[in-house]
């Protein structure tokens, strides 16, 4: 390296010299000779992004290393090249070491790849066995060092030392033949493979990495590398330790995290100073520091000073980075919308850019908007925050947005709201939103809101417009639910009549803890053809809680598992001849069935109750327990509620008033809900288990009509209790699962398969068959179920060894705390 090609960093020379005398007191490399090989040379470009040549870097490091070694009284230190006028061949470099008979060879290199890496690599020769050949005939490596006990000791040691010195991203050491591909073109490094003494090659860091190149323009940085290699040889040859340590660091601006040039770094107590150079690396280096506690202070015009105290030890590297914050109070540099803006889009976010990094919590606490609107903060960086309305702002409204003086930067300085250079006053902007254009579709409301989190994975979504839409334009090409740009979630769009509201019903459960986008495309239009004219797209995230969902009834069975309302003693005030709950097609969320109640109330006080007879099997009751279903209403004003059975009787969950046309998700957490006592109940859920016992339809509005329900489900915490088989297979490959019987329908035998998790295997496993009235038909309990897959055959006989009647049965598997049920059909 040509020294004059580097920028010499200003150092207080006297201070350095004062400490250098303390160097190498205990070091002794006498009796040892070395050959140092600065890799490459004249005519080899190998340049970094701004033109720093690897050959120059290698030479500079080798020269500094030689200085260290000579100071430690090494017998001889040869360099394979002394300048950049030659480029000796690899064989000549080896010849120099071999002819002189040095004790150790070290080749100095720096790496390059794609400009993004910055790790330390040490390579040493791999022994190869000519009696063992690769398929292509080349000699195979043995996986061992050619110089065992030597290069395989210095390799990892040197890699680690350089990593500590240069603070690279990582350090690795490798045998050369294997590193370069083994049987796929691997080779021994040409500069190592004919040495008659141990040697290695270091690629300390990557000179094509922009940050590393900037640092390597500083000779003090390269001296750190030389120091690390030198220390390795001291360690290996038990030649003493450096009495001093080195301290380095990077000074960056807090505003942009960019390294700062021209920063004066002062070290106390030694009072040495260092000025970061003009190469944009922010680097400071103090070599040869006596062990002790030091305080580093960085000072630069326009910034507040920063200090840090740390310990420096001999024969080691210490590091202290500092970040400098600009001086003066923070202020708002720019906003969107601008002060007194008009015609502001009601869907757009407000944006504030501060002069420096802010304390986010203080800004959020200090922000107000009037008139108020629900919204959330999005921090683009510590300097830029967006305030995004959950849905939209009001049309044609004058707003005032204010950040109070309590907002502070990360150093605790109060906001300078009026820009007078003194902190402690608020910042305010006024703006006016645009008037709604009712000639086109206008999105008035939507669910989930922007960036909503914790969305139920089986929820239904809604978008409400200002006017009825052209039904032909309400389709899944214009209304898209998608996790990314390449997939789309199949969904049913419910758009009854000429309503302004579109309900989006996903046809499968969304993934838990995942992000989705709901997008409205411009093709959506009013009946007169006026189009939406823009894309609306917003993101929401489903909840990530550890729960499972059990479908209690999907109304897909051939027989309805619910009792006739007339059979319930709690039904009253209705016409039994005109009231029926039956399976219906057409409105199902999935599959082909739903349950529809056609009703006629004859009294103002009317109650229609249907009891669930399809397997009232218990479910574990805990804090996460939820129950729900989908309800298709007709804005009747009547009330729907589900009924559950707990340890003391029937409890009635909160009522849903049928106030709209279309599908609605009915969903309640069981603990903490406003529960009313039903038959034998006490108005609260007791015990450890519960089961679905029915639903109730209570008159509060229209006397007749219809109500459709589908997919009654239970949400439970912990282990999956009952989820689709595919989900079990996908997410719990070795866990608990009950599979669909086969064949099904069947006669006379069917096989029931289930999988047990290791933690429940060995505990009692219960497999029972129930009829739809919940009566036990046959107990197939397995005495010796094992982890993994098990299989049981049911011969269609009951507990009395009689052939069971044809029909639908429920089979339930219980193991440990896990329960799962499925239905099977016996035909004759």
């Amino acid at each position: 390296m040509k020294l004059n090609s580097l920028t010499i960093t200003a150092i207080t020379a006297s201070a350095i010299l004062a400490t250098i005398s303390g160097t190498a007191l205990a070091q002794d490399l006498s009796g040892l000779s070395f050959c140092l090989d600065p890799g490459h040379g004249a005519g080899t470009p190998n340049q970094g992004p701004t033109g720093l040549r690897e050959a120059d870097i290698n030479l500079e490091v080798a020269l500094r290393l030689k200085e260290f070694m000579k100071a430690a009284k090494a017998d001889s230190v040869l360099l394979t090249r002394l300048d950049d006028t030659t480029n000796p061949s690899l064989s000549q470099r080896e010849s120099i070491a071999n002819q002189f008979g040095v004790d150790w060879f070290h080749s100095v290199h720096h790496n390059a790849f794609d400009g993004g890496d910055r790790f330390t690599l040490l390579l040493y020769e791999e022994k190869r066995d000519p009696a063992d050949r690769c398929p292509n005939g080349s000699i195979r490596g043995t996986g061992a060092a050619e110089w065992p006990g030597q290069t395989d000791v210095t390799g990892p040691l040197m890699a680690s030392r350089i990593f500590q010195a240069l603070r690279t991203s990582n350090s690795i050491d490798r045998l050369d033949w294997t590193f370069y591909g083994g049987c796929n073109g691997g080779f021994n490094l040409g500069v190592l493979n004919d040495l008659q003494m141990p040697g290695e090659l270091s690629e300390a860091t990557f000179h094509d990495h922009p940050d590393e190149e900037n640092k390597m323009r500083n000779p003090d940085f390269l001296k750190l590398e030389a120091r690390a290699i030198f220390m390795t040889f001291l360690d290996f040859f038990d030649a003493g330790e450096m009495a001093t340590g080195a301290l380095s660091g990077i000074i960056k601006a807090a505003a942009n995290n960019e390294p700062l040039s021209g920063v004066t770094v002062t070290l106390s107590p030694s009072n040495q100073t260092y000025q970061t150079d003009s190469n944009g690396n922010g680097l400071y280096v103090f070599h040869d520091l006596a062990p002790g506690s030091y305080t580093v202070t960085a000072v630069a015009p326009g910034f507040d000073p920063a200090t840090r105290t740390l310990q420096v030890q001999g024969h080691s590297f210490a590091a202290a980075d500092l970040t400098l914050a600009a001086s003066g109070p923070p202020f708002v540099e720019a906003t969107v919308p601008a002060q007194n803006a008009t015609e502001v889009d009601v869907y757009e976010s407000l944006a504030f850019r501060f002069s420096r990094e802010m304390n986010r919590e203080s800004v959020e606490n200090a922000f107000t908007l009037g008139p108020s609107a629900a919204g959330h903060f999005i921090w683009v960086s510590d300097k830029i925050v967006l305030v995004e309305p959950d849905t939209r702002l009001d049309f044609d409204t004058e707003y005032t947005s204010r950040i109070a003086a309590t907002a502070t930067d990360q150093s605790g300085r109060f906001l300078d709201g009026n820009g007078d250079g003194t902190g402690g006053d608020s910042f305010t902007i006024d703006f006016m939103t645009k008037t709604a254009d009712n000639s086109i579709p206008v999105v008035m409301d939507f669910f989930p809101v922007r960036r909503d989190t914790g969305v139920f994975e089986r929820d239904v979504f809604e978008v409400t417009f200002n006017k009825p839409l052209d039904p032909a334009t309400v389709n899944t090409s214009n209304i898209v639910l998608a996790p990314n740009s390449t997939e789309q979630i199949p969904a049913v769009l419910d758009f009854p009549g000429a309503a302004t509201r579109v309900t989006i019903i996903p046809q499968k459960a969304l993934s838990r803890g995942a992000s989705y986008f709901l997008t409205l495309r411009p093709g959506i239009s009013l009946a007169d053809g006026s189009e939406l004219g823009r894309i609306f797209s917003w993101r929401f995230t489903t909840r990530s809680s550890n729960v499972s969902i059990t479908t209690v009834d999907d109304f897909e069975a051939p027989e309805l598992a619910w009792g006739n309302p007339s059979a319930s003693p709690f039904s009253m005030g209705f016409d039994p001849d005109s009231t029926e709950f039956e399976l219906t097609p057409g409105l199902a969320l999935s599959g082909g069935g739903a349950g529809t109640l056609s009703y006629v109330f004859t009294e103002n006080i009317g109650v229609i109750q249907s009891d669930f007879v399809g397997g009232g099997q218990p479910h574990r009751l805990d804090a996460a327990s939820e129950i729900g279903c989908y309800v298709y209403g007709h804005a009747s004003g009547n009330q729907f509620r589900l009924l559950v059975q707990d340890s003391d009787g029937v409890e009635m969950l909160p009522a849903l008033t049928d106030s709209r046309l279309g599908w609605t998700l009915y969903r309640h957490r069981l603990q903490g809900a406003a529960i009313e006592a039903g038959d034998g109940g006490n108005g609260q859920l007791d015990g450890a288990e519960f089961s679905v016992s029915g639903f109730r339809w209570t008159r509060a509005g229209k006397a007749s009509g219809a109500l459709t329900i589908d997919d009654i489900f239970i949400v439970e915490s912990g282990l999956p209790v009952s989820v689709d088989d595919d989900q079990v297979a996908a997410f719990h490959p070795s866990g608990f699962a009950l599979y669909q019987n086969y064949p099904n329908p069947f006669n006379p035998e069917t096989k029931i398969s289930f999988r047990l998790a290791p933690q429940v295997a060995g505990t009692p496993v219960s497999l029972q068959i129930f009829d739809l009235q919940g009566r036990l038909v046959r107990d197939l309990t397995v005495a010796n179920a094992r982890p993994g897959l098990n299989q049981v055959v049911w011969d269609s006989r009951d507990a009395r060894d009689q052939k069971a009647a044809s029909g639908v049965y429920v089979y339930r598997l219980r193991a440990g705390n896990s329960t799962q049920t499925k239905k099977l059909i016996l035909l004759k």
Partner: protein, 317 residues
């Protein structure tokens, strides 16, 4: 390598030594003489041409083999022993430098191996590092060890063939001391020092008749010069020269690399006056290195890096 007999015409050319060189060389198919399950390198012919001394990997040990590829046997497995070992003039002894370890530190020994009896003689000396390799004195009654403090002469037992040089004062040995060439004459006395070009010298070789010295400059070219320092001839790029027995021709290797890996190498021939330079191996997929011209002048031995084998290539003109 698909070398077959072919001829190259070299235009007779007066240069330096003012000797016109007939230039029609033909090369035979190189044949491997070492097995394919061993890595052996850097062949060195015995003066009687009956045996080649070979180095093991990383110059560990010395092996002997007949030119026909027969009778491979190991002389020693000492570390470093195979590096540029020296035959005695009667082809019965080998002088070399070995390395011994004391813990993690090492030192050099000078040793003489008898190829006929297998006996080994370690030469007593007090130093640690031998620069280059030990050399026989002209009458082989002593050996020279080049050390950091100079050349030491140590007497050894052995035959003392009469000097064959035209003049007792002409160079008998050449040492490279880094940036100069240093002679020992046939009387075993210092014969002078040369520095004909700037640079660090490597692999200096005295021609068999003592009239010329070939040497390479690190990062530079291959040169020939008279012991007087006159008539310097730049032979262009080349490494590790070996003289033909007639002292009129040289063989050398010309490797190429990318700074990490040796990409290729071929064996070249060139007349001592710089004329007739020609590629003798011309292989694209083999890395021929370390040529050694046979004493009868009829073949060149070399090693091949990829296979780890030693070859002999016949040649004639």
């Amino acid at each position: 390598m698909n070398i077959f007999l072919y001829c190259v015409t070299i235009v007779p050319f007066l240069w330096g030594f003012a000797v016109a060189q007939p230039a029609d060389w033909s090369f035979g198919q190189p044949m491997p003489i070492t097995p394919d399950d061993a890595v052996l390198q850097q062949p060195r012919w015995s003066p009687d041409g009956t045996t080649l001394a070979l180095a093991g990997e990383n110059y560990r040990g010395i092996w002997l083999i007949d030119p026909a590829g027969k009778n491979l046997r190991q002389v020693t497995d000492a570390a470093g022993a195979g590096y540029r070992c020296s035959w005695s003039s009667d082809s019965r002894r080998l002088l070399t430098r070995t390395t011994v370890y004391e813990g993690r530190r090492r030192k050099h020994q000078a040793e003489i191996f008898s190829v006929t009896t297998g006996l080994q003689e370690t030469i007593k000396w007090a130093g640690k590092t031998i620069i280059g390799t030990p050399r026989w004195s002209p009458d082989e009654s002593s050996v020279y060890l080049q050390t950091r403090t100079g050349i030491q002469t140590i007497a050894v037992a052995g035959d003392k063939p009469p000097p064959t040089a035209p003049s007792l004062f002409s160079p008998a040995l050449i040492f490279s001391t880094g940036t100069s060439l240093y002679f020992i004459n046939h009387l075993g006395r210092p014969g002078g020092r040369l520095a004909p070009v700037a640079g660090r010298y490597l692999n200096a070789e005295l021609s068999p008749d003592g009239s010329k010295i070939a040497f390479e400059v690190v990062g530079g070219n291959l040169f020939v010069v008279k012991p007087t320092g006159q008539d310097l001839v730049d032979l262009g790029r080349g490494e590790r020269p070996t003289w033909a027995p007639d002292s009129q021709w040289l063989a050398f290797m010309l490797p190429t690399d990318d700074g990490h890996r040796v990409l290729n190498s071929d064996i070249y021939l060139v007349a001592a006056d710089g004329s007739g330079r020609q590629n003798a191996t011309r292989s694209a997929d083999r890395v021929e290195m370390n040529p050694a011209w046979a004493p009868d002048g009829k073949s060149i031995a070399f090693d091949e890096e990829n296979s780890g084998r030693v070859f002999i290539m016949p040649l004639a003109r």
